[in-house]
């Protein structure tokens, strides 16, 4: 392909534009797979999520992803009743409603650290420290500690409500950092964990969600003496002893007479959630596909513009005994070569970028990107790109073919 080499400037630019578009497409694909995985991996080992009656999506969002608010709470009595059910292996209570500098505070108990699993079968691990022992101990998610620069023993003030800037803070009852969790790539990283009792304690003197006047406040020391069993929690996670029991339990919770409760199976809710998020994801893929198409159209333009200046070259080849089919296949080969090189360069570019960015992404966002390997989906995509390139290349090839038929051996230059 000396002819192509002769036009290496244009050819290189064409290859480059295809490469960039291909790596964009591959990158989106990779991200999408990785995001989907990490999405599905957010919580595992949990059979049911239980909260006040609401839609499964809402329940999943606030209990697992810490997005949105619960409409109502679950009474402590109901929680106890279900937690003690003989078919239940374990439960994790979750109490939400407070925050610390934009990060949600999760009230829970030691079961959280013992049973919570993500990414298949990975348990929570402490990077530093240990679970809370004291009433005013706090365990930070990895992201919280990283962003706010907290160390073990630091003092933390929890704010009422969920705003990043809150005017009512639980200043009278400071917490101390007892432990910091290792990064998980799940919303756990962005959570501040305290005990359920601590949630009760900081709200002990509150009346109807309003901070009392200073003289009516109960100090931290007094709070330790009070009865701190919570009246209610926001939601809880349930694991049954046998998976077969899940549906029975789900039904009995949904029909629970004591108060209106909802139980959802995480997988089902996750699928619903993914369907929702999938729209944006599909849009991104479509955009990437169009960028690839633009790259290929650039190639088409590049080949077409050279066609006229190459008429002479083709007439010479014709005189040398080249058949019109020769000319056609020559031009097709050119399109194919450009596309193939572009795709290969794009793959190389993607891997290079992934190799650079993967550690950063996994550290920052906990999304684990598989560095190597093209999935079958990727491969068929790439093959499709080369296929489309050949399809587009057929047009200038056909034009060249027609030209050679019309021109014969005369040089119309």
């Amino acid at each position: 392909m000396r002819s192509l080499w002769n036009r290496r400037g244009t050819a290189l630019l064409t290859i480059f534009s295809i490469a960039v578009s291909v790596s964009l497409l591959l990158g989106v694909q990779k991200m999408r797979v990785a995001a989907r995985d990490s999405f599905a991996n957010t919580v595992s080992g949990v059979h049911l999520i239980v909260g006040a009656r609401s839609g499964p999506l809402n329940l999943l969002l606030y209990s697992i992803f810490r997005v949105g608010d619960a409409t109502a709470n679950v009474s402590w009595a109901s929680y106890q009743k279900i937690a003690r059910h003989p078919d239940v292996e374990w439960t994790i209570p979750i109490s939400l409603g407070d925050s610390h500098r934009g990060f949600r505070v999760v009230g829970t108990n030691a079961d959280y650290f013992a049973h919570y699993q993500y990414g298949g079968d990975r348990s929570l691990r402490f990077a530093q420290g240990k679970p809370f022992a004291d009433l005013f101990d706090v365990v930070l998610g990895a992201e919280v500690a990283r962003q706010l620069g907290y160390k073990l023993g630091d003092e933390i003030i929890v704010a009422h409500g969920l705003g990043r800037v809150s005017f009512s803070q639980h200043k009278d009852k400071p917490f101390h950092v007892a432990g910091i969790l290792a990064a998980t790539g799940t919303p756990v990283d962005r959570s501040v964990h305290v005990s359920l009792e601590a949630i009760s304690a900081i709200h002990l003197d509150w009346q109807n969600g309003v901070q009392p006047a200073p003289w009516a406040r109960i100090g931290a020391a007094q709070a330790r003496q009070a009865k701190l069993t919570p009246d209610s929690i926001t939601a809880f996670l349930v694991r049954m002893k046998e998976p077969a029991l899940i549906f029975t339990m789900e039904r009995s919770i949904n029909q629970y007479r004591g108060e209106p409760l909802s139980a959802v199976i995480p997988g089902v809710a996750l699928t619903q959630l993914w369907d929702l998020v999938g729209i944006a994801d599909t849009a991104l893929t479509i955009v990437a596909a169009f960028v690839v198409l633009a790259g290929l159209l650039g190639m088409l333009t590049a080949i077409l513009t050279t066609l006229n200046e190459r008429r002479r070259e083709m007439a010479i080849m014709r005189a040398m005994g080249a058949r019109p089919a020769h000319i056609f296949s020559l031009l097709m080969a050119e399109a194919g070569t450009l596309a193939l090189l572009g795709v290969l360069a794009g793959v190389a570019l993607t891997f290079a970028l992934l190799a650079l960015a993967a550690p950063l992404i996994s550290q920052r966002y906990g999304i684990f990107m598989q560095p190597g390997g093209l999935s079958g989906m990727d491969l068929s995509l790439l093959a499709g790109i080369v296929g489309v390139a050949l399809l587009l290349g057929a047009y200038p090839a056909w034009r060249g073919y027609r030209n050679t038929l019309n021109d014969g051996l005369s040089m119309r230059v």
Partner: protein, 237 residues
């Protein structure tokens, strides 16, 4: 008695939408003959060469080149036949600019392997290409590796001649190869071309509007005389 190199009978050609361009009752060229065809531009020169080269298909009549009736060949076979048996030299722009001199000379072999059949080994073919270049006055080995765009037009035409002669095709067709050369270079070029044609016993069909060259050939034919189609000037490029 061998068949003639070119045997043309009642050949008529016209573009689908235009008038008849070419109408020749009879035109023969014997093997080894060097024929000068005189014709001003627009006299159907290019068309005649296109028909003999098998690129254009005459509407009527019979055309035998080296004993083969071209009308009986399919287009692909005609292309191969042209590549195998005919060497072309054009007026200018003969060479592919991004190939080296040597690669330009070797170009025909890429499309028609039979062309080099006499020099089976690729090495022998290269040696033959070099010999032709030297014989045509391009002695400098460094020059053979150079890009053709750096050559003078005279040198380029010699390279083109070397390419046409490579593999000793039976028929050499030259379409105004000297019109872009000055007078001295013209005489030199013709002499060398004739010499090499004689060496490989090739038939030479030389087309030009320059009547002063006619005396150098075995025979001189005026296209206007043999073409019965009335030619409006400038109808064919």
């Amino acid at each position: 008695m061998t068949t003639p190199a070119i045997e043309l009978r009642d050949v008529v050609f016209g573009w689908p939408t235009g008038p008849t361009v070419l109408d020749i009752a009879r035109f023969d060229v014997a093997r080894g003959e060097k024929v000068f065809v005189r014709g001003a531009s627009g006299s159907g020169k290019s068309t005649l060469l296109g028909i003999i080269g098998g690129v254009l298909q005459p509407g009527r009549g019979s055309l035998r080149v080296l004993g083969t009736e071209l009308a009986n060949l399919r287009p692909g076979a005609r292309d191969r036949f042209r590549g195998d048996h005919i060497g072309f030299i054009f007026q200018m722009f003969n060479l592919i600019p991004y190939l080296s001199v040597l690669d330009n000379v070797l170009l025909p072999v890429r499309f028609t392997p039979h062309r080099g059949a006499a020099f089976v080994a690729a090495g022998a073919l290269r040696a033959e290409a070099r010999r032709l270049l030297v014989a045509l006055g391009l002695h400098d080995p460094a020059l053979q590796k150079r890009a053709v765009t750096e050559l003078s037009i005279g040198q380029q035409q010699r390279v083109a001649a070397a390419r046409a002669l490579l593999g000793s095709p039976e028929l050499i067709i030259a379409d105004e190869p000297t019109s872009s050369l000055d007078y001295d270079a013209r005489a030199d070029f013709l002499q060398l071309l004739m010499q090499e044609c004689a060496r490989s016993a090739a038939t030479l069909l030389f087309v030009s509007h320059d009547t002063s060259l006619g005396s150098l050939f075995d025979r001189s034919v005026s296209l206007r005389e043999i073409n019965r189609a009335a030619q409006p000037a400038g109808a064919a490029a």
